[in-house]
């Protein structure tokens, strides 16, 4: 078989993925960039070029800024809490116990459930009167009539709580893989030196998990910035825009108001924000990643 034919076959195999990427990612991105420079209302015949006006309008729009702030608060709370929760669960299921596979599967179940179905279940959990949380609060002697999703003080926090559970599966699996790849000899050596469980966790587990943590951090941050399904199903951005997040705001702008140009500009602003946040994360973690790489060697 000639090298040329072999190349041809290689291209053939990557063709579907490349075509998918071109058609469903790169082409829409290019079209969105072009749309963002036009006043493009879906039902109007005229689509005049407006330069960066859509970007300026989005930045000046108080509702867009509210949505951006809500997104930052959500990401700022849900990412560290979600990661901490996932690491704790990963440590728990990283045990040699009978039937541990069952527990791992149970914790992974939310990842294979539909986002809409999960949201519906959580609506019931958060129900003011007969919801699980309020019923538990009543048993504990509290009033137990809090409208978690209808109260501006609790609505976003309720979504954070739900996302900790909803995002648990993949994060836990990745942390578990990271934990299981730490050489047992390091723990044995530390134990011989008299290190306790906390010292072993602090000085071996955490440093060795840096690459894993970094991966989970970046992917969780991106997921947090793209929060949509839960808001769409559970709160529709309310009450009083307390849960209006950027992607939901963009959805409303595009598919309820039909301003595709403006919605595209807002999408690019979200993209820029995510890029900046990811770069900051890369920069902050660079030293730890380097140390971890050296430790692994």
């Amino acid at each position: 078989m000639s090298a040329e034919r072999s190349n041809w076959r290689g291209y053939f195999f990557v063709a579907p993925a490349t075509a998918y990427l071109l058609v469903f990612s790169l082409l829409p991105m290019a079209v969105a960039a072009w749309l963002s420079l036009h006043r493009w209302h879906l039902l109007r015949a005229e689509h005049p070029f407006v330069g960066l006006d859509n970007y300026a309008a989005a930045l000046a729009d108080p509702f867009f800024r509210t949505a951006f702030w809500n997104t930052l608060v959500f990401a700022g709370a849900s990412v560290p809490l979600g990661m901490g929760f996932a690491l704790a669960v990963a440590l728990l299921v990283d045990q040699r116990l009978r039937g541990i596979g069952v527990f791992r599967t149970l914790f992974y179940v939310p990842a294979v459930s539909s986002g809409v179905a999960i949201s519906m279940v959580w609506i019931w959990i958060f129900m003011p009167q007969d919801g699980l949380i309020n019923s538990a609060l009543r048993l504990a002697g509290f009033a137990g009539d809090t409208d978690f999703l209808g109260d501006t003080r609790f609505a976003l926090a309720a979504l954070v709580l739900m996302s900790m559970w909803g995002g648990l599966g993949p994060r836990m699996v990745i942390f578990l893989a990271g934990l299981q790849s730490v050489p047992p000899s390091l723990y044995e050596a530390a134990e011989i030196d008299g290190a306790g469980p906390w010292q072993r966790f602090r000085h071996i587990t955490l440093p060795m998990l840096v690459p894993t943590t970094f991966f989970v951090l970046v992917t969780s941050t991106i997921a947090a910035f793209q929060l949509f399904t839960q808001v769409y199903v559970m709160t529709q951005g309310g009450p009083r825009r307390a849960t209006d997040v950027v992607v939901y705001h963009i959805y409303k702008e595009a598919w309820h108001k039909f301003y595709l140009g403006s919605a595209s500009a807002q999408s690019y602003l979200l993209f820029a924000a995510l890029l900046v946040v990811s770069l900051i994360q890369f920069r902050l973690m660079r030293r730890q990643l380097k140390e971890a790489a050296e430790a692994w060697q």
Binding site: M127, G150, H256
Partner: protein
């Protein structure tokens, strides 16, 4: 060598899979507009609607019978109903079918969002068809309901059914409290007095055991109070909110409604409503509510003894808003004749009697509506028809955004503690900006 043969096999497999996918995706286009090859003589009439009470098997059974009868009478025409369920999803998804160049032939036109379809030229003018069809009489329908889809001398939909918004009250609660039922033309102060008398408080609980009125924050459910108060949310041409939503008379009405919750405590707070999780009126925890004819389905199931009263007046005279469903033909439909036959059939006396026996709405066909007369509740609804005005959404393209902002305004007042005047002024400016937006 084995590896090479295996690779070839996989290549052929992948190619076959891609070809099969392409054929499946392109099949509808290859097969032509009829949907399947060799079915050229069959017209597939696509009808879009928002679903109706699909959970009710008896209603769906009637629907199936009605459609089967139409197809039996019109050989060669097959009706394909395309339901677009989901709160707030009907208009955007339906509009997408127009933008994509694949609209339905017939659509149910919601009066609350009719303007966006009419103003953008998406619907066919039915007047030429009506003039050319001696079998159809527009006079058979309530004239103010017909006018919802009228623009100048053009008509874009035939009304099917509708409801004026009214105050529904629980007669048993009135009887227990020894209060007279609301008289026609009752005033806002009489309403407040009644609501106070019907509210039952307990010294041991901060929330009343029963509320006089079930106030709800959604704008269609409180908007008629503004008309009855002698003002409006928009200017007569529908282009301005500043000077209207924030006008003293409008602010007074908004303040009155907010005070039912905040000051007089005769209506539940938003969190109390949410906490209940159910319709407080239906469960007997509220004596009065504002709603439309559609609620009668549930009230009848519950065997509630109810009465119907007009929206209390305060300077605006006896007036309310009506919400309506009409049937329209897409301007781009290739099957306009079949579509017209379908619309005539749906609004005919025979079909309307069958479908509206469920209690869903009042028939726009005067004869059918009056055939249900004799029942005091139906009579009370019919009495309101002459006082019912078309909703703003039938005239202003972006009125759904106005309703969204109106709901947020109520949330600002009731949960944010914002004074009614400030909230109305801010909301008027926001609406103005939306209406001005190009």
């Amino acid at each position: 060598m084995r590896c090479s043969r295996y690779g070839r096999l996989v290549s052929v497999g992948v190619a076959a899979l891609l070809a099969a996918t392409a054929i499946v995706l392109l099949w509808p286009r290859l097969a032509g507009p009829g949907g399947s090859a060799g079915a050229d003589s069959v017209i597939v009439l696509r009808v879009a609607n928002w679903g109706g009470p699909a959970v009710d098997p008896s209603f769906m059974k009637i629907e199936h019978e009605v459609l089967a009868e139409f197809e039996r009478r019109h050989p060669g025409v097959t009706v394909r109903v395309e339901n677009i369920p989901g709160r707030g999803q009907y208009v955007p998804k339906l509009l997408m079918t127009y933008v994509a160049g694949n609209p339905p032939d017939v659509m149910t036109l919601d009066a609350s969002s009719a303007a966006v379809f009419i103003d953008n030229g998406l619907l066919a003018d039915l007047m030429p068809t009506i003039r050319g069809d001696p079998a159809f009489r527009l006079d058979d329908f309530f004239p103010n309901v017909v006018d919802i889809a009228r623009q100048g001398d053009r008509l874009y939909a035939i009304p099917s059914d509708f409801t004026p918004m009214v105050i529904v009250y629980n007669k048993r609660v009135f009887d227990e409290a020894r209060r007279p039922y609301p008289r026609p033309g009752w005033t806002r102060s009489e309403f407040l007095e009644t609501a106070q008398a019907l509210t039952v408080r307990s010294p041991r609980r901060p929330a009343p055991l029963r509320y006089g009125f079930n106030f709800q924050k959604e704008m269609p459910l409180w908007f008629p109070w503004i008309w009855a108060g002698g003002s409006d949310v928009l200017s007569p041409d529908g282009r301005h909110a500043v000077g209207y939503l924030d006008a003293p008379a409008t602010v007074e009405t908004i303040g009155f409604l907010a005070d039912l919750v905040r000051t007089h405590r005769v209506a539940p707070s938003l969190s109390e409503s949410a906490a209940a999780g159910v319709d407080l009126f239906r469960t007997g925890r509220a004596a009065m509510t504002m709603t439309g004819h559609w609620s009668l389905i549930e009230y009848r199931v519950d065997k509630m003894d109810i009465g119907v009263a007009a929206v209390p007046t305060s300077g605006g005279g006896r007036v309310t808003v009506m919400y309506e469903a009409g049937l329209a033909i897409s301007a781009a439909s290739p099957h306009k004749e079949a579509a017209w036959e379908y619309i005539k059939y749906r609004v005919s006396t025979e079909v309307q009697k069958k479908v509206l026996a469920s209690g869903l709405a009042i028939s726009a066909n005067k004869g059918v509506a009056r055939s249900f007369a004799g029942d005091p509740v139906e009579d009370a609804f019919l009495e309101e028809v002459p006082y019912a005005r078309r909703p703003w959404g039938s005239r202003v393209e972006r009125y759904e955004l106005v309703e969204d902002l109106g709901r947020e305004m109520m949330e600002d007042i009731l949960t944010g503690g914002v004074p009614a005047r400030d909230a109305a002024a801010r909301t008027a400016r926001l609406i103005e900006a939306e209406l001005e937006r190009q």
